[in-house]
Symmetry: C2
Subunit: 312 residues, 2 copies
Amino acid sequence: MKQFVLGIDVGGTNIKFGLVDQKGKIVDRSHLSTKECISHKEKLIDKLVRGCEEIIAKNKLSKENLRGIGIGLPGLINAKEGIVYSLTNIPGWKNVPLKRIIEKKLRVSVFIDNDVNVITLGEWKKGAGKGKENMICITLGTGVGGGLVIKNKMYRGEGFAAGEIGHIPVQQAGRKCNCGGNGCLETLVGNRYLLQKAKRIFKKRDFSLEDVSKLACQGNRKAVQFWQQVGEQIGIGLTGVVNVLNPSCIVVGGGVANAYAHISGPMLETIQKRAMRVQGKMVKIKKSNLGPNAGIIGAQALVEEEIKFRAK
Amino acid sequence: MKQFVLGIDVGGTNIKFGLVDQKGKIVDRSHLSTKECISHKEKLIDKLVRGCEEIIAKNKLSKENLRGIGIGLPGLINAKEGIVYSLTNIPGWKNVPLKRIIEKKLRVSVFIDNDVNVITLGEWKKGAGKGKENMICITLGTGVGGGLVIKNKMYRGEGFAAGEIGHIPVQQAGRKCNCGGNGCLETLVGNRYLLQKAKRIFKKRDFSLEDVSKLACQGNRKAVQFWQQVGEQIGIGLTGVVNVLNPSCIVVGGGVANAYAHISGPMLETIQKRAMRVQGKMVKIKKSNLGPNAGIIGAQALVEEEIKFRAK
């Protein structure tokens, strides 16, 4: 009998659903807009349930061939008990026992986790960090996030808040960060700041980071320099992580990773130059190879990990 | 039958030996100078063996009541296989199978590890971080070191080099560090730099950090400010660690910890102000309570941990 996992990636604009087979192939997918229900907790939960029901019905799945549902959400998640403590930029969620709620409605095992942890699990189980005992994932986007695999296990920290690589202070007297800190890595390489900087450098109002990437590909000197600096700054932030955690692999994912060809060189050089000898020599930097599917494949990995762990 | 562990703390000036009973009490101790044998590997090993033999003979210990020997050394140590990859500031050590060498000579189980890891184990098993699932130890001295306990286990990294909290870059364009990096935490709060700074501020040539502490205790404004800045800078460095690892406890040890009363306030305030909400709220900062015995008690903890682990 074929078995599947339903992976769900909850974002600020869309909820993506993907049915994943045991080989890790996404055999069906769908998505629903989050927009009109973003500030209504109940509506968002209903949409989650409806999306599941639809894909289950369409694929004629019984309880026997659905191993579980995995959900990645942007926020602080108690992955052990399945409770959403809070969601980032989505109001109204406080200590919601989402696992229990959905399990009750669908009668299927549900596992939830922070979206970056889910991506990290995906990269570790099926992606660029496959099989590494100690690996780190950094996601570059509006926020700069991270996830940690330590001794072949996801490490979530004492309060499920570990992995915030974007909030390592790299400039003592740096810009105020959204998180309350100063000079965090995110204030240098988060999309919002990069876009401001790009608009300033290229003196254009209507301009995107994609445009800077295109220009860099065409050999535009300013654009190449722009990404070079981004790479160096990520490299400085990661130097601290590399010295403290001595991982064998760092996987770089998220939107800015589209400019990976331009940032990877300076990033690696900076780490090699600045990190301690042993740690610097040992660490490999890799581009995420799950791309936009990382959330769904990661949600599958979460379900498989949890089933394996609970079976012990 | 009473059982003991022999704990050994190898430093640049002394080798300290301590016989520890099962309650964690040091029942006998001795020390030998490292000075005349520091650059002779064989002589240093002989001294280690002789020190053990003496304390074993003096206490009339048989193999049955010596559970094992634990040794902390300043350097890069493969704790799993018992190999000294290299020692810091002690030349001539490269891939030395110290565990095997001493076991062969004394016919007792030997376990070795990096000295800061050993201190971390001591604080975690018997000291200020007792029983914490996720804790960090930072040692302040000429070097600024660190050790990590993650999910109730010592975490040593992919190449036994993890924990280098002193080498998190906190100033992008900062001073060159011994490790090869720039602007590492150690370049701001390592003893050597602090001493230079103190001499400059107090315009005295013959001056020690102890003197600055004494002045601070007497209420000298400049001395209080001096330690306040040290506390703030350690706080900034630890903010990154707190955000990334979300530990429940950080234990502060080492020489500068003598000024703990002056640095702890500013350190904690900085972390509370700069770290992310959940991580900042959750972390307790504690002073090492094993003091100069941390190395010996830690070596005992190392032996007990390894015996427990290998028995599984």
